[in-house]
Structure formats: structure tokens, C-alpha cells
């Protein structure tokens, strides 16, 4: 298995997680996840995984989507609002600051570190996306972008992805447990289980193969990506207007980006002439 193939698989998986945690599930994504093809693929891969935890996560999501009825879609939108938009009794905070700083606050040190990381790699959160940069969706999207670059042959991006993953994995594990505890719909519990299974398998893929044998984490991730590709039409970029806006309010950066591979991040394709903006 080539490193590029694995990086491409992770791109797909992380884009999926970035999308489902970024906002209420879209009608397109819901239909894609409810399609016969996706359900068939998800059930099939859940029986192929070496990791029983990833298999469990995929099966729980399959079972939820398989039995979802006509009322399920609006219920999932309400569930997102209850959990992530503070509309319910037991909200879940999807921000690294809340977990990593160990204080019940948002906009902590992690947010500023995340902004610095994005700047370092020429990225920026879509200004039309209202959540801060240490939101779980933005972090997954950042990883997705780094994997996309690695799959294109950028080795430095691969190292950046690995370093980021090692520094930022712990809080996402805790987020999954808190989400699982808070959700009443079953959908976000299933996503929490699948995300946790993914984080574990991705962790195994980062250590020498002889330490995790007979597990084959790389093969598991490629299979999961194949299944999640079926949600492709639903995973769309949340496009913003022209131009790149600095994290520092009021500073605009000239930009000439032509495509938008990531839903929440923008590439700085132009040279930033500091002071000319």
C-alpha cells in the first residue's frame, strides 16, 4: 500500500467528518447516506475491517440509517441544534479550547495555536463559516487538506499532518465520549462511535506495523474511505465570496484561488504582500 493511497483515503474520511460536524446535515448528504448503495457499501465494509471497533462504529451508523424513517431528517437537524447550537438541555462544545485548556471556556490558547497553524500552511477558515478555528470540523478539514497535499506528493504536508494529529488527538477522543453521552437521536451517537473507531485506527496507522500486527490499519482506512465516497454528492464546499480575509479583523489578503478543495478552509494561492492590503 502506498503512502499516497492512504493519504487520499484519509482525505475522504476527514472531509466526511468535517462536513457532518460543521453544520446541520444537508438534505443532499442525508439522501446520500440513506441511499441503497451507501448502506450496502457501509454494511459490506463493516464486515471487512480488521479493527472490530471501526466495524462496530460502521455497523451502528448503518443500522441507524437503515431504519431511518420519513421523520428522521428534520429530527437530525433539531438534534444538531440541540447539541451544537446550544438549543438543548445538554449541549456539546465542539471546540478544542474547552477540552485542552481544561477550563470551561472557549477561545482559549488552542484557538490561537490553530490560527497560527493555518497561517503557517497558507490556509484560512472560510470567513462565512461562523465557528472559531478550533472547532472540530475545521480541524478535520485542516487534516483533510494536509492529506490531500500529501497524496499529491507534498511530503512536508504529510509531516505536518502527522505532527498535528499527535498534538491534537486527545481532545477529539474526549469529544466523541461527550457527544455519545449527550445525544438522544442515535445519529450522533453513531457518528461518535465511527469517529472514535477512526481515530483509533488512524492512531494505529501512525505506529510501526509490527507493533500493531495482526491489525492492518491502512487497509481499514482505505475500505472506510471507499464506503464514505458514496456520500460524495452531499459533501460540498461552503463557498465564500472572493478574497481571503485575515483572522485579524479588517485585514484583507489578495487572493486568486481558483478551486476550493475544502469546505471550511481557503488556500492562499497568491503571494501575500503584507501591508498592501
Amino acid at each position: 500500500m502506498e503512502a499516497k493511497e492512504l493519504a487520499a483515503a484519509k482525505t475522504t474520511i476527514q472531509r466526511f467528518f468535517a462536513t457532518v460536524f460543521a453544520d446541520e446535515i444537508s438534505a443532499e448528504l442525508y439522501q446520500a447516506m440513506k441511499s441503497d448503495q451507501f448502506l450496502m457499501d457501509l454494511e459490506a465494509v463493516s464486515q471487512k475491517f480488521y479493527s472490530k471497533e471501526l466495524a462496530h462504529g460502521a455497523m451502528v451508523l448503518f443500522e441507524f440509517m437503515d431504519r431511518a424513517g420519513v421523520d428522521t431528517y428534520p429530527q437530525l437537524r433539531y438534534a444538531y441544534a440541540d447539541l451544537f447550537l446550544n438549543a438543548g438541555n445538554n449541549p456539546v462544545l465542539p471546540y478544542e479550547s474547552f477540552y485542552a485548556d481544561r477550563e470551561p471556556i472557549t477561545h482559549g490558547e488552542s484557538l490561537f495555536l490553530m490560527r497560527e497553524t493555518l497561517r503557517k500552511y497558507g490556509l484560512h477558515k472560510d470567513p462565512n463559516y461562523w465557528e472559531p478555528e478550533d472547532h472540530i470540523a475545521v480541524e478535520f478539514d485542516f487534516l483533510s487538506e494536509m492529506n490531500r497535499r500529501e497524496a499529491s506528493g507534498d511530503r512536508a504536508a504529510g509531516q505536518a499532518r502527522a505532527d498535528f494529529g499527535k498534538q491534537h488527538m486527545a481532545w477529539r477522543t474526549e469529544f466523541c465520549a461527550v457527544l455519545h453521552s449527550a445525544d438522544k437521536s442515535g445519529f450522533y451517537q453513531a457518528l461518535a462511535e465511527l469517529t472514535l473507531g477512526y481515530l483509533f485506527v488512524a492512531h494505529l496507522s501512525s505506529v510501526p506495523p509490527e507493533e500493531v500486527a495482526p491489525q492492518q490499519p491502512g487497509a481499514d482506512l482505505i475500505e472506510l474511505a471507499r464506503a464514505l465516497k458514496g456520500t460524495g454528492p452531499g459533501v460540498k464546499s461552503a463557498s465564500a465570496g472572493e478574497g481571503i480575509v485575515s483572522a485579524q479583523a479588517g485585514r484583507r489578503r489578495p487572493a486568486t484561488f481558483q478551486d476550493d478543495p475544502n469546505p471550511l478552509l481557503r488556500l492562499w494561492r497568491a503571494v501575500w504582500n503584507n501591508g498592501k492590503s
Partner: protein, 123 residues
């Protein structure tokens, strides 16, 4: 440099990488011996592996309610992670231990002082 204690019921658990981070670490595979050591010595953070490690947290908190612990799970069973988080560890990480992950976790835990304990997670 911190004084660490590492416990895992599996005697083959490899804690060698902790030494490379420049900390003093005493390792145990017997929970009774680990508890005795914690009672008689200054321990900044306890590294606890597996289900038995999670069980040990309550006993360590009897020694000190603010006892800092980092948990290493064998697998991502969400119920086990919820149980661990309910006991307010500094972090929950996966095995095998990745040295950079542990380093980042220990730095945060050591720097943040008393506020390291995660009491605010709703589980």
C-alpha cells in the same frame, strides 16, 4: 523534570519512551505495589494503562483528590472512555504510546496546575 508513576497490568507494557522525555518514571504491573509507591512518594502524574488502570484512579484520589492521571486505553470502547473521563483524568490516550502525544499531554498537564483536572465534562 517530573516524577511519574506508570502502571499497567500487562507486564510487557513498554514505558521506555517516558525516559526519553527526561522524566523520572517508576513502572508497576501490580496495582498494590503501585498504590504503596504513590502513598510513600511524591508523584506528579500517574500513567495508567487499560481497564485496571482506570480502576486505580479512585484509589489514587483517596491519597490526593487532585491526583493527576493520564489514561491509556487498549481500544476505543466508548463506554470505557466515558468511564475514564468520569474520573477526571488529564487526558485519555490510546495504546501503543506515541511519545510526541505523551509529551504534549504531559506538558499541558504539568503547566496547567490544579486546573488540569477535567471536572466540567458532562458524561
Amino acid at each position: 523534570m517530573a516524577q511519574l508513576m506508570a502502571y499497567d497490568a500487562d507486564p510487557n507494557m513498554n514505558w521506555n519512551m517516558v525516559d526519553t522525555l527526561g522524566h523520572d518514571v517508576k513502572t508497576f504491573s501490580d496495582s498494590g505495589e503501585a498504590l504503596d509507591y504513590a502513598r510513600e512518594n511524591q508523584v506528579d502524574i500517574a500513567l495508567l494503562g487499560g481497564t485496571e488502570g482506570i480502576d486505580l484512579i479512585r484509589h489514587l484520589r483517596e491519597i490526593s483528590p487532585q491526583f493527576k492521571v493520564v489514561v491509556f486505553c487498549d481500544s476505543p470502547k466508548i463506554e470505557e472512555i466515558r468511564r475514564a473521563l468520569g474520573l477526571a483524568p488529564c487526558s485519555v490516550l490510546f495504546k501503543p504510546v506515541v511519545v510526541e502525544e505523551l509529551d504534549a499531554c504531559l506538558k499541558r498537564a504539568l503547566l496547567k496546575g490544579k486546573s488540569t483536572i477535567k471536572g466540567s465534562l458532562k458524561l
